[in-house]
Protein backbone atom coordinates (compact mmCIF):
# COMPACT_ATOMS: atom_id res chain seq x y z
CA UNK A 1 0.00 0.00 0.00
CA UNK A 2 1.45 3.35 -0.96
CA UNK A 3 2.03 5.77 1.86
CA UNK A 4 -0.35 8.14 0.15
CA UNK A 5 -3.14 5.67 0.78
CA UNK A 6 -1.98 5.17 4.33
CA UNK A 7 -1.87 8.93 4.78
CA UNK A 8 -5.33 9.34 3.39
CA UNK A 9 -6.78 6.42 5.22
CA UNK A 10 -8.65 3.69 3.47
CA UNK A 11 -11.88 5.68 3.34
CA UNK A 12 -12.46 8.71 1.14
CA UNK A 13 -11.37 11.96 2.62
CA UNK A 14 -11.59 15.51 1.37
CA UNK A 15 -8.09 16.94 0.93
CA UNK A 16 -7.69 20.30 2.63
CA UNK A 17 -11.11 21.63 3.59
CA UNK A 18 -14.39 22.46 1.87
CA UNK A 19 -13.65 26.20 1.81
CA UNK A 20 -10.55 25.90 -0.33
CA UNK A 21 -12.43 23.71 -2.82
CA UNK A 22 -15.13 26.37 -3.18
CA UNK A 23 -12.31 28.76 -4.01
CA UNK A 24 -10.46 26.42 -6.37
CA UNK A 25 -13.49 25.15 -8.29
CA UNK A 26 -14.83 28.69 -8.66
CA UNK A 27 -11.45 29.87 -9.91
CA UNK A 28 -11.32 26.99 -12.38
CA UNK A 29 -14.71 28.04 -13.77
CA UNK A 30 -13.63 31.67 -13.96
CA UNK A 31 -10.60 30.69 -16.00
CA UNK A 32 -12.83 28.65 -18.28
CA UNK A 33 -14.73 31.89 -18.89
CA UNK A 34 -11.48 33.57 -19.93
CA UNK A 35 -10.74 30.71 -22.32
CA UNK A 36 -14.27 30.92 -23.72
CA UNK A 37 -13.92 34.66 -24.29
CA UNK A 38 -10.57 34.13 -26.02
CA UNK A 39 -11.99 31.55 -28.39
CA UNK A 40 -15.61 32.45 -28.99
CA UNK A 41 -15.52 36.22 -28.82
CA UNK A 42 -12.28 37.06 -30.57
CA UNK A 43 -10.42 34.17 -32.14
CA UNK A 44 -13.50 33.03 -33.98
CA UNK A 45 -13.58 36.33 -35.84
CA UNK A 46 -10.06 36.41 -37.18
CA UNK A 47 -8.27 33.11 -37.01
CA UNK A 48 -5.53 34.23 -39.38
CA UNK A 49 -4.64 37.20 -37.22
CA UNK A 50 -4.40 35.00 -34.13
CA UNK A 51 -2.32 32.44 -35.97
CA UNK A 52 0.10 35.11 -37.10
CA UNK A 53 0.22 36.84 -33.69
CA UNK A 54 1.01 33.56 -31.97
CA UNK A 55 4.16 33.20 -34.01
CA UNK A 56 5.50 36.12 -32.04
CA UNK A 57 5.27 34.32 -28.74
CA UNK A 58 8.30 32.45 -27.55
CA UNK A 59 7.37 28.81 -27.12
CA UNK A 60 10.73 28.28 -25.47
CA UNK A 61 10.03 30.76 -22.70
CA UNK A 62 6.58 29.26 -22.27
CA UNK A 63 8.12 25.79 -22.08
CA UNK A 64 10.66 26.99 -19.47
CA UNK A 65 7.89 28.43 -17.37
CA UNK A 66 5.90 25.24 -17.60
CA UNK A 67 8.86 23.23 -16.35
CA UNK A 68 9.53 25.68 -13.54
CA UNK A 69 5.94 25.54 -12.36
CA UNK A 70 5.58 21.80 -12.58
CA UNK A 71 8.79 21.38 -10.59
CA UNK A 72 7.43 23.76 -7.98
CA UNK A 73 4.32 21.58 -7.80
CA UNK A 74 6.49 18.56 -7.11
CA UNK A 75 8.18 20.44 -4.28
CA UNK A 76 4.82 21.41 -2.79
CA UNK A 77 3.52 17.85 -3.04
CA UNK A 78 6.66 16.48 -1.40
CA UNK A 79 6.42 19.17 1.24
CA UNK A 80 2.86 18.18 2.14
CA UNK A 81 3.95 14.54 2.20
CA UNK A 82 6.87 15.33 4.50
CA UNK A 83 4.60 17.33 6.80
CA UNK A 84 2.33 14.32 7.14
CA UNK A 85 5.32 12.28 8.27
CA UNK A 86 5.96 15.06 10.80
CA UNK A 87 9.26 15.90 9.12
CA UNK A 88 8.56 19.61 9.37
CA UNK A 89 12.09 20.70 8.58
CA UNK A 90 12.08 18.89 5.27
CA UNK A 91 8.56 20.15 4.60
CA UNK A 92 9.51 23.76 5.08
CA UNK A 93 12.64 23.20 2.98
CA UNK A 94 10.47 21.92 0.14
CA UNK A 95 8.20 24.92 0.44
CA UNK A 96 11.20 27.20 0.22
CA UNK A 97 12.21 25.46 -2.99
CA UNK A 98 8.66 25.77 -4.32
CA UNK A 99 8.57 29.46 -3.44
CA UNK A 100 11.91 30.03 -5.09
CA UNK A 101 10.64 28.31 -8.23
CA UNK A 102 7.56 30.51 -8.15
CA UNK A 103 9.72 33.61 -7.97
CA UNK A 104 11.85 32.38 -10.87
CA UNK A 105 8.62 31.87 -12.84
CA UNK A 106 7.73 35.52 -12.20
CA UNK A 107 11.14 36.70 -13.37
CA UNK A 108 10.93 34.65 -16.56
CA UNK A 109 7.41 35.99 -17.15
CA UNK A 110 8.58 39.54 -16.56
CA UNK A 111 11.41 38.99 -19.01
CA UNK A 112 8.99 37.57 -21.56
CA UNK A 113 6.67 40.58 -21.23
CA UNK A 114 9.65 42.87 -21.47
CA UNK A 115 10.73 41.30 -24.76
CA UNK A 116 7.22 41.60 -26.13
CA UNK A 117 6.82 45.21 -25.05
CA UNK A 118 10.24 46.05 -26.43
CA UNK A 119 9.09 44.80 -29.82
CA UNK A 120 6.09 47.09 -29.61
CA UNK A 121 3.55 44.38 -28.81
CA UNK A 122 1.30 45.93 -26.21
CA UNK A 123 -2.10 45.05 -24.81
CA UNK A 124 -3.80 47.12 -27.50
CA UNK A 125 -1.77 45.80 -30.44
CA UNK A 126 -4.46 43.33 -31.42
CA UNK A 127 -7.08 41.04 -29.93
CA UNK A 128 -4.66 38.18 -29.44
CA UNK A 129 -2.26 40.26 -27.39
CA UNK A 130 -5.12 41.69 -25.37
CA UNK A 131 -6.03 38.16 -24.29
CA UNK A 132 -2.39 37.21 -23.87
CA UNK A 133 -1.59 40.02 -21.46
CA UNK A 134 -4.83 39.74 -19.50
CA UNK A 135 -4.70 35.94 -19.16
CA UNK A 136 -1.04 35.77 -18.25
CA UNK A 137 -1.53 38.81 -16.02
CA UNK A 138 -4.39 37.24 -14.09
CA UNK A 139 -2.32 34.07 -13.81
CA UNK A 140 0.57 36.10 -12.38
CA UNK A 141 -1.81 37.53 -9.77
CA UNK A 142 -2.72 33.95 -8.89
CA UNK A 143 0.97 33.05 -8.60
CA UNK A 144 1.42 35.97 -6.20
CA UNK A 145 -1.55 34.85 -4.12
CA UNK A 146 -0.09 31.34 -4.19
CA UNK A 147 3.29 32.60 -3.00
CA UNK A 148 1.56 34.41 -0.14
CA UNK A 149 -0.21 31.20 0.73
CA UNK A 150 3.07 29.23 0.61
CA UNK A 151 4.66 31.78 2.93
CA UNK A 152 1.82 31.31 5.39
CA UNK A 153 2.30 27.54 5.20
CA UNK A 154 6.03 27.89 5.64
CA UNK A 155 5.57 29.95 8.78
CA UNK A 156 3.04 27.45 10.07
CA UNK A 157 5.45 24.56 9.53
CA UNK A 158 8.33 26.34 11.18
CA UNK A 159 6.47 28.06 13.98
CA UNK A 160 3.49 26.05 15.16
CA UNK A 161 4.01 23.23 17.62
CA UNK A 162 1.56 21.06 15.68
CA UNK A 163 1.11 22.50 12.21
CA UNK A 164 -2.46 22.28 10.94
CA UNK A 165 -2.54 19.76 8.12
CA UNK A 166 -5.73 21.15 6.56
CA UNK A 167 -4.03 24.48 6.12
CA UNK A 168 -0.94 22.90 4.62
CA UNK A 169 -3.04 20.79 2.26
CA UNK A 170 -5.22 23.78 1.34
CA UNK A 171 -2.20 25.82 0.34
CA UNK A 172 -0.86 22.91 -1.65
CA UNK A 173 -4.17 22.49 -3.45
CA UNK A 174 -4.20 26.15 -4.44
CA UNK A 175 -0.64 26.00 -5.74
CA UNK A 176 -1.37 22.92 -7.84
CA UNK A 177 -4.34 24.74 -9.34
CA UNK A 178 -2.07 27.62 -10.32
CA UNK A 179 0.22 25.04 -11.92
CA UNK A 180 -2.37 23.19 -13.98
CA UNK A 181 -4.12 26.38 -15.09
CA UNK A 182 -0.78 27.34 -16.57
CA UNK A 183 -0.66 24.03 -18.48
CA UNK A 184 -3.86 25.08 -20.23
CA UNK A 185 -2.73 28.65 -20.84
CA UNK A 186 0.55 27.36 -22.29
CA UNK A 187 -1.29 24.98 -24.58
CA UNK A 188 -3.93 27.47 -25.67
CA UNK A 189 -1.82 30.57 -26.22
CA UNK A 190 1.61 29.23 -27.12
CA UNK A 191 1.20 25.83 -28.72
CA UNK A 192 -2.22 25.49 -30.32
CA UNK A 193 -2.04 27.34 -33.60
Amino acid sequence: MSDQAIDAGTSRRLPGDADIWVFVIGDMLIFSAYFAAYLFVDRIRDHALFFQAQQQLSQNLGFCNTLILLTSSLFVALGVHAARLADFRAASRFLELAGASGIIFLFVKAYEWYTKLASGLTISTNAFFMHYYVMTGVHVVHVLIGLTFLTILWRELRGAAIPRMELVEAGGIYWHMVDFLWFLIFALLYLMR
Binding site: V22, F23, A37, V41, M130, V134, V141
Partner: protein, 257 residues
Amino acid sequence: MSNTLTAHAATETTNVATPVATNRKLDQWICWWSLPIFYNLFGLIFVYLGKLMPPPKPGLTTSEIVTFIQTNASSMQVAWVMLTLSLGFASLSSGLIVVQMKRMSVSPVLPYAYLAALAVAAVPGCLLCTIMFALAAFRPDRDPEIIALLYDMGLLSFVGSLGCFATQYMIFAIAIFLDKNRIFPRWLGYMSIWGAVTEMVAAPIWIFKDGPYAWDGLISFYLGTIIFVVWEYFLVASLFKAIKQQPLEELTPPCSV
Protein backbone atom coordinates in the same frame (compact mmCIF):
# COMPACT_ATOMS: atom_id res chain seq x y z
CA MET B 1 -37.33 41.78 31.95
CA SER B 2 -33.83 40.44 32.41
CA ASN B 3 -35.17 36.95 33.09
CA THR B 4 -36.98 36.98 29.77
CA LEU B 5 -33.79 38.07 28.09
CA THR B 6 -31.71 35.34 29.68
CA ALA B 7 -34.30 32.79 28.67
CA HIS B 8 -34.14 34.14 25.15
CA ALA B 9 -30.37 34.16 25.02
CA ALA B 10 -29.97 30.47 24.47
CA THR B 11 -33.01 29.89 22.34
CA GLU B 12 -33.42 33.00 20.21
CA THR B 13 -34.26 32.02 16.68
CA THR B 14 -35.50 34.70 14.31
CA ASN B 15 -36.40 38.27 14.89
CA VAL B 16 -39.98 37.48 13.83
CA ALA B 17 -40.48 35.20 16.82
CA THR B 18 -39.38 37.82 19.31
CA PRO B 19 -41.76 40.67 20.05
CA VAL B 20 -40.53 44.08 18.97
CA ALA B 21 -40.31 45.48 22.45
CA THR B 22 -37.91 42.81 23.63
CA ASN B 23 -36.01 42.24 20.38
CA ARG B 24 -32.64 43.65 21.29
CA LYS B 25 -31.24 43.06 17.85
CA LEU B 26 -33.95 45.09 16.13
CA ASP B 27 -31.48 47.80 15.22
CA GLN B 28 -29.27 45.30 13.40
CA TRP B 29 -32.25 43.70 11.68
CA ILE B 30 -33.40 47.07 10.39
CA CYS B 31 -29.95 47.59 8.94
CA TRP B 32 -29.91 44.08 7.52
CA TRP B 33 -33.21 44.63 5.72
CA SER B 34 -31.75 47.66 4.02
CA LEU B 35 -29.56 45.24 2.05
CA PRO B 36 -32.15 43.20 0.17
CA ILE B 37 -34.32 46.32 -0.23
CA PHE B 38 -31.47 48.46 -1.51
CA TYR B 39 -30.13 45.87 -3.91
CA ASN B 40 -33.51 45.13 -5.40
CA LEU B 41 -34.02 48.87 -5.82
CA PHE B 42 -30.54 49.09 -7.33
CA GLY B 43 -31.49 46.41 -9.84
CA LEU B 44 -34.72 48.19 -10.74
CA ILE B 45 -32.92 51.49 -11.13
CA PHE B 46 -29.92 50.34 -13.14
CA VAL B 47 -31.53 47.66 -15.26
CA TYR B 48 -35.05 48.81 -16.04
CA LEU B 49 -35.17 52.55 -15.51
CA GLY B 50 -31.63 53.74 -16.02
CA LYS B 51 -30.84 51.27 -18.82
CA LEU B 52 -27.25 50.97 -17.64
CA MET B 53 -27.13 47.30 -16.92
CA PRO B 54 -26.13 45.87 -19.26
CA PRO B 55 -24.32 49.01 -20.28
CA PRO B 56 -24.67 50.55 -23.73
CA LYS B 57 -21.65 50.28 -25.98
CA PRO B 58 -18.50 52.29 -25.35
CA GLY B 59 -17.91 52.91 -29.02
CA LEU B 60 -21.01 54.94 -29.79
CA THR B 61 -20.69 58.20 -31.69
CA THR B 62 -21.76 61.45 -30.11
CA SER B 63 -25.09 61.57 -31.88
CA GLU B 64 -25.81 57.92 -30.95
CA ILE B 65 -25.10 58.75 -27.33
CA VAL B 66 -27.42 61.77 -27.42
CA THR B 67 -30.14 59.62 -29.01
CA PHE B 68 -29.68 56.99 -26.30
CA ILE B 69 -30.12 59.56 -23.57
CA GLN B 70 -33.07 61.28 -25.25
CA THR B 71 -35.04 58.09 -25.87
CA ASN B 72 -34.62 57.04 -22.28
CA ALA B 73 -34.76 60.46 -20.66
CA SER B 74 -37.99 60.08 -18.71
CA SER B 75 -37.21 56.70 -17.15
CA MET B 76 -33.66 57.85 -16.49
CA GLN B 77 -34.86 60.92 -14.67
CA VAL B 78 -36.94 58.73 -12.37
CA ALA B 79 -34.06 56.32 -11.89
CA TRP B 80 -31.50 58.86 -10.90
CA VAL B 81 -33.79 60.77 -8.56
CA MET B 82 -34.61 57.50 -6.83
CA LEU B 83 -30.96 56.60 -6.53
CA THR B 84 -29.94 59.99 -5.20
CA LEU B 85 -32.57 59.62 -2.49
CA SER B 86 -31.79 56.02 -1.58
CA LEU B 87 -28.02 55.78 -1.93
CA GLY B 88 -27.49 57.09 1.58
CA PHE B 89 -29.14 53.98 2.98
CA ALA B 90 -26.11 51.99 1.93
CA SER B 91 -24.54 53.40 5.06
CA LEU B 92 -26.87 51.21 7.14
CA SER B 93 -25.44 48.04 5.68
CA SER B 94 -21.88 49.35 5.99
CA GLY B 95 -22.48 50.05 9.65
CA LEU B 96 -23.89 46.58 10.13
CA ILE B 97 -20.89 44.92 8.51
CA VAL B 98 -18.55 46.99 10.69
CA VAL B 99 -20.40 45.93 13.85
CA GLN B 100 -20.16 42.26 12.91
CA MET B 101 -16.53 42.64 11.86
CA LYS B 102 -15.76 44.14 15.24
CA ARG B 103 -16.80 40.82 16.78
CA MET B 104 -13.91 39.22 14.95
CA SER B 105 -10.72 38.47 16.81
CA VAL B 106 -8.91 41.06 14.70
CA SER B 107 -8.05 44.66 15.41
CA PRO B 108 -10.85 47.19 14.76
CA VAL B 109 -8.47 48.64 12.18
CA LEU B 110 -9.89 46.22 9.63
CA PRO B 111 -13.61 47.05 9.97
CA TYR B 112 -12.77 50.76 9.97
CA ALA B 113 -10.60 50.32 6.88
CA TYR B 114 -13.45 48.39 5.23
CA LEU B 115 -15.86 51.21 5.99
CA ALA B 116 -13.46 53.81 4.65
CA ALA B 117 -12.78 51.83 1.47
CA LEU B 118 -16.48 51.32 0.79
CA ALA B 119 -17.35 54.94 1.55
CA VAL B 120 -14.72 56.07 -0.94
CA ALA B 121 -15.73 53.44 -3.48
CA ALA B 122 -19.40 54.46 -3.42
CA VAL B 123 -18.52 57.87 -4.79
CA PRO B 124 -17.18 56.81 -8.17
CA GLY B 125 -18.88 53.43 -8.13
CA CYS B 126 -22.40 54.74 -7.80
CA LEU B 127 -22.75 58.43 -7.07
CA LEU B 128 -20.70 59.84 -9.93
CA CYS B 129 -22.55 57.67 -12.40
CA THR B 130 -25.85 58.86 -10.98
CA ILE B 131 -24.90 62.51 -11.20
CA MET B 132 -23.44 62.28 -14.70
CA PHE B 133 -26.48 60.53 -16.12
CA ALA B 134 -28.92 62.69 -14.19
CA LEU B 135 -27.21 65.72 -15.68
CA ALA B 136 -27.43 64.25 -19.15
CA ALA B 137 -31.12 63.37 -18.70
CA PHE B 138 -32.19 66.66 -17.12
CA ARG B 139 -30.19 69.02 -19.33
CA PRO B 140 -30.92 67.81 -22.88
CA ASP B 141 -30.17 71.25 -24.29
CA ARG B 142 -26.46 70.92 -23.53
CA ASP B 143 -23.85 70.59 -26.24
CA PRO B 144 -23.79 66.97 -27.56
CA GLU B 145 -20.06 66.72 -26.92
CA ILE B 146 -20.70 67.49 -23.26
CA ILE B 147 -23.45 64.88 -23.13
CA ALA B 148 -21.01 62.36 -24.66
CA LEU B 149 -18.43 63.29 -22.05
CA LEU B 150 -20.97 62.78 -19.25
CA TYR B 151 -21.79 59.39 -20.77
CA ASP B 152 -18.15 58.34 -20.77
CA MET B 153 -17.54 59.70 -17.28
CA GLY B 154 -20.61 57.97 -15.89
CA LEU B 155 -19.93 54.53 -17.31
CA LEU B 156 -16.17 54.59 -16.84
CA SER B 157 -16.60 55.47 -13.18
CA PHE B 158 -19.36 52.88 -12.72
CA VAL B 159 -17.39 49.96 -14.16
CA GLY B 160 -13.88 51.27 -13.73
CA SER B 161 -13.76 52.31 -10.08
CA LEU B 162 -11.82 49.21 -9.31
CA GLY B 163 -9.15 50.07 -6.82
CA CYS B 164 -11.47 51.02 -3.96
CA PHE B 165 -13.62 47.93 -4.37
CA ALA B 166 -10.60 45.68 -4.74
CA THR B 167 -9.26 47.11 -1.49
CA GLN B 168 -12.60 46.60 0.22
CA TYR B 169 -12.66 42.96 -0.87
CA MET B 170 -9.11 42.33 0.26
CA ILE B 171 -9.65 43.92 3.69
CA PHE B 172 -12.71 41.73 4.15
CA ALA B 173 -10.81 38.63 3.04
CA ILE B 174 -7.88 39.33 5.36
CA ALA B 175 -10.22 39.93 8.29
CA ILE B 176 -12.01 36.65 7.67
CA PHE B 177 -8.80 34.65 7.39
CA LEU B 178 -7.35 36.13 10.56
CA ASP B 179 -10.56 35.82 12.53
CA LYS B 180 -10.55 33.02 15.05
CA ASN B 181 -14.15 33.64 16.06
CA ARG B 182 -15.38 32.54 12.64
CA ILE B 183 -18.02 35.24 12.44
CA PHE B 184 -18.11 34.82 8.69
CA PRO B 185 -17.36 31.56 6.84
CA ARG B 186 -13.94 31.04 5.28
CA TRP B 187 -15.33 30.47 1.82
CA LEU B 188 -16.79 33.99 1.87
CA GLY B 189 -13.23 35.23 2.35
CA TYR B 190 -12.14 33.22 -0.68
CA MET B 191 -15.04 34.63 -2.71
CA SER B 192 -13.85 38.09 -1.74
CA ILE B 193 -10.55 37.25 -3.39
CA TRP B 194 -12.43 36.40 -6.60
CA GLY B 195 -14.05 39.82 -6.27
CA ALA B 196 -10.68 41.55 -5.89
CA VAL B 197 -9.21 39.79 -8.93
CA THR B 198 -12.36 40.60 -10.94
CA GLU B 199 -11.83 44.26 -10.18
CA MET B 200 -8.33 43.99 -11.59
CA VAL B 201 -9.64 42.37 -14.75
CA ALA B 202 -11.98 45.34 -15.18
CA ALA B 203 -8.94 47.62 -15.58
CA PRO B 204 -8.71 47.18 -19.38
CA ILE B 205 -12.06 48.93 -19.86
CA TRP B 206 -10.20 52.21 -19.96
CA ILE B 207 -8.43 50.98 -23.09
CA PHE B 208 -10.89 48.88 -25.03
CA LYS B 209 -14.09 50.04 -26.66
CA ASP B 210 -15.30 46.60 -27.59
CA GLY B 211 -14.63 42.97 -26.92
CA PRO B 212 -14.71 41.06 -23.67
CA TYR B 213 -12.66 43.65 -21.78
CA ALA B 214 -14.72 46.71 -22.66
CA TRP B 215 -17.12 48.14 -20.11
CA ASP B 216 -19.92 46.03 -21.60
CA GLY B 217 -17.63 43.06 -22.18
CA LEU B 218 -18.25 39.42 -21.40
CA ILE B 219 -15.49 39.37 -18.82
CA SER B 220 -15.20 42.88 -17.49
CA PHE B 221 -18.92 43.39 -17.13
CA TYR B 222 -20.86 40.13 -17.20
CA LEU B 223 -18.45 37.85 -15.35
CA GLY B 224 -17.70 40.69 -12.95
CA THR B 225 -21.37 41.28 -12.26
CA ILE B 226 -22.08 37.58 -11.75
CA ILE B 227 -19.26 37.29 -9.24
CA PHE B 228 -20.44 40.44 -7.47
CA VAL B 229 -24.04 39.22 -7.25
CA VAL B 230 -22.95 35.80 -5.93
CA TRP B 231 -20.68 37.43 -3.36
CA GLU B 232 -23.33 39.94 -2.27
CA TYR B 233 -25.94 37.17 -1.92
CA PHE B 234 -23.69 35.11 0.31
CA LEU B 235 -22.62 38.21 2.26
CA VAL B 236 -26.24 39.04 3.03
CA ALA B 237 -26.94 35.41 3.99
CA SER B 238 -23.82 35.28 6.20
CA LEU B 239 -24.80 38.55 7.88
CA PHE B 240 -28.21 37.09 8.65
CA LYS B 241 -26.58 34.09 10.25
CA ALA B 242 -24.05 36.21 12.12
CA ILE B 243 -26.73 38.44 13.63
CA LYS B 244 -28.84 35.45 14.61
CA GLN B 245 -25.91 33.73 16.27
CA GLN B 246 -24.66 36.82 18.08
CA PRO B 247 -24.99 36.17 21.81
CA LEU B 248 -27.12 38.76 23.58
CA GLU B 249 -24.36 39.33 26.13
CA GLU B 250 -22.36 41.07 23.43
CA LEU B 251 -24.98 43.73 22.87
CA THR B 252 -24.79 47.04 24.71
CA PRO B 253 -27.30 46.74 27.55
CA PRO B 254 -29.81 49.55 28.06
CA CYS B 255 -29.23 51.64 31.15
CA SER B 256 -31.28 50.22 33.96
CA VAL B 257 -34.25 52.40 34.81
